[in-house]
Symmetry: C2
Subunit: 410 residues, 2 copies
């Protein structure tokens, strides 16, 4: 079946917001077997919206609309789509009551404008909005299906997941079973090169790569009738991918590197402390982002200056003078000092030239030393990164977590 | 003049990447006086791409295309657009040479496929690509203009800024003078309510609000003939906005809150240290993101556990027992302890319940205490936030920077 996405909103046309809705919906339509050929964005204008609606309904079986479901005169999506399908919109008593209760509970007055949000074609399936006032709906006429959703992502995402997905699964006669393989240590082109034949000949399950700074995610999606069948389809594919890529695949359940480390530290009942120079708080911040981090994170130190490295971490003055703050020796002493003074089982330390200035001939901008100390040993890794300051800091942070993950795997 | 944006790429249709290119371009077209009525995304398919190209050229004066300029057979944009405009594409000798040099310098071999990237209509304006191999181009025929740009944002953004903007400015006979007003302390609806009449009756300059977690940015854009004229048009509007909103406008030149604090600390030659519990590294990390932070940032401490608060910051055991770690007293002692031990002029400290668990009846999840210590005084602010853990941490970080900014303004 052919599907398309129509986003309605002047704020999208003007670039005031980026269209994450279209991406979210597209990611879910394709694996269900819908072919998506077009995304269109159009403003809140009757004439242009009408022409877009007609074109979309003409060429696709399913059209997903986002935006334009609000209470103001500008919000035209529902009325325009209904008209194109030959349907009329009228207040639905249960929806009017629900909205009145919603407003009363918040002490707002219910104005005639709000009636609009409680009006639908009689035959429409109404989709509850758990995070806002505008319900979505599904309208059908003559083999054409229009799915209308509110624009704000915090309303659309859960509505799509909870109410649209089951509908689409029934429509396609299948369910989706999805697993996210997360990869650190190789770029997208090299990962897709090694999986070239799999990606080119994919049918079911499908394998789609996504890229984030420094990382690649492979989404393995099986079209199935049950969770068990999905798993049976996906697992051999996941096994084949891991067989080719090896231990650069660090999660098969969509966990991030910090989450993977956090889980392993918690499972092993061991503790961590971090001493950061160039990553300056990024490692600690990623860990504190995880609820329950107090179980394993004893403390963090941001020691950007030489003074802080010496005073807080016990880096020796001779080390700073002889080798400099960006050196294997300094990283080592930072990690050892942090582990000693915190009493943690493991300590991570980073020091490097994040740019744009700094660096030496041997250690240009982008050089980062990462040290990992544990009982009786400390290892240091030197990495050479490229790009902007923010990118260098982010990727160095990923390397630090990867080093810790590999140690905890042993 | 009417403009539209056509994005070409299966990876966009499938939702593998979000369309930041369309947003970037739209933000710049509207203020130059171009009316943007449609964005369309279509895949690398000759038939559908051809129909989209014809429709776009039919209804708009200027069409900006993104993507599909690569060397593979899938990359069809240039050939399809040229055909629609009645132009033919051929290898341009200077471009062939340039590409050959580019490949030779990197030790890659130049394959026949690469000739595609050096081929253009003879009349086209070629746009150099400083960050990739595919140049962009501008083709014109019969009052219609097609602007073709590479898809990757890191290639497109600079190409648009450096080569397309000057072209569009000449086309519209005007320049853009833009100023970004950054606001912390009021939400978007309340900011736009206070500026309702300005936003509704805007002509030149225009005022457009953008929202980021916890913050509002107003983009004031004047259409002008010169920088001086632009400034003369924009400044009274900026004055009017500041007159209404007051000191919640913290920058009129697009500086972020951490950047504003960093500039003020540097200008005043004073130093800062930070002690973070619930924000855990976020404040430090935002500061280390700024080149030259060693001038003012002495150190940071992530003291998430009670032990770290006591051992590293000297928070008293009685304080932790009597008031708890999330309390005015604890925040105060964290800031004072950090300032004392670091020798910094200022110290910021945060402690709070970021959720999802924790909190008390008086201090539920979302309660954060922020303390700012300086010579002879320490002030504590209690804030009550809502939402997810990540949001609470981010907004608490903004409050901390805002507190520091207000202190440094005195």
């Amino acid at each position: 079946m052919v599907a398309e996405i129509v986003s309605v909103g002047t704020e999208l046309l003007m670039g005031q917001v980026v269209n994450t809705d279209a991406q979210f919906i597209a990611q879910r339509l394709a694996p269900l077997g819908f072919q998506v050929f077009y995304h269109t964005t159009v403003g809140d204008n009757v004439k242009r919206l009408t022409s877009v609606v007609h074109q979309a309904v003409e060429r696709s079986d399913v059209v997903v609309f986002t935006g334009g479901l609000g209470p103001t005169d500008d919000d035209l999506t529902k009325e325009t789509v209904a008209a194109a399908l030959g349907l009329t919109v009228e207040p639905i008593p249960e929806e009017v009551e629900r909205l009145e209760r919603y407003f009363a509970a918040r002490g707002y007055s219910f104005t005639p404008n709000n009636l609009k949000q409680a009006s639908f074609p009689k035959s429409a399936v109404i989709l509850p909005n758990e995070f806002g006032t505008a319900p979505g709906c599904i309208m059908s006429a003559e083999d054409k299906t229009a799915i209308l959703l509110p624009g704000p992502p915090r309303e659309l995402f859960p509505m799509f997941q909870n109410h649209v997905m089951p509908y689409l699964e029934r429509m396609s006669g299948s369910k989706l079973y999805t697993r996210e393989l997360r990869i650190f240590g190789k770029g997208e082109s090299s990962v897709t090169y090694e999986l070239k034949d799999i990606i080119e000949h994919q049918t079911n399950p499908t394998v789609a790569p996504y890229v984030k700074t420094g990382e690649v995610t492979l989404r393995v999606t099986a079209l199935c009738q049950s969770e068990a069948e999905g798993e049976a389809l996906a697992l051999p594919m996941i096994g084949e991918i891991i067989g080719r890529l090896g231990d650069i695949v660090y999660s098969t359940v969509g966990e991030s590197l910090p989450e993977t480390c956090a889980r392993m530290l918690t499972d092993d009942s061991v503790t961590l402390a971090v001493a950061e120079s160039c990553t300056g708080g990024l490692i600690a911040s990623e860990l504190v982002a995880i609820p329950g981090c107090s179980k394993f994170l004893l403390e963090g130190c941001v020691a950007y200056s030489d003074e802080a490295k010496a005073r807080r971490l016990g880096v020796r003055q001779e080390t700073l003078e002889q080798f400099g703050a960006v050196s294997e020796q300094c990283a080592k002493e930072m990690a050892e000092g942090m582990r000693r003074s915190s009493g943690a089982n493991y300590a991570l330390a980073t020091t490097g030239f994040a740019g744009p200035d700094g660096g030496t001939e041997q250690d240009p901008v982008g050089t980062v030393y990462i040290a990992l100390a544990c009982e009786g040993s400390v290892v240091v890794k030197r990495i050479q990164l490229h790009g902007e300051r923010a990118r260098i800091r982010e990727i160095a942070t990923l390397h630090a977590f990867d080093m810790l993950r590999r140690k905890l795997c042993l």
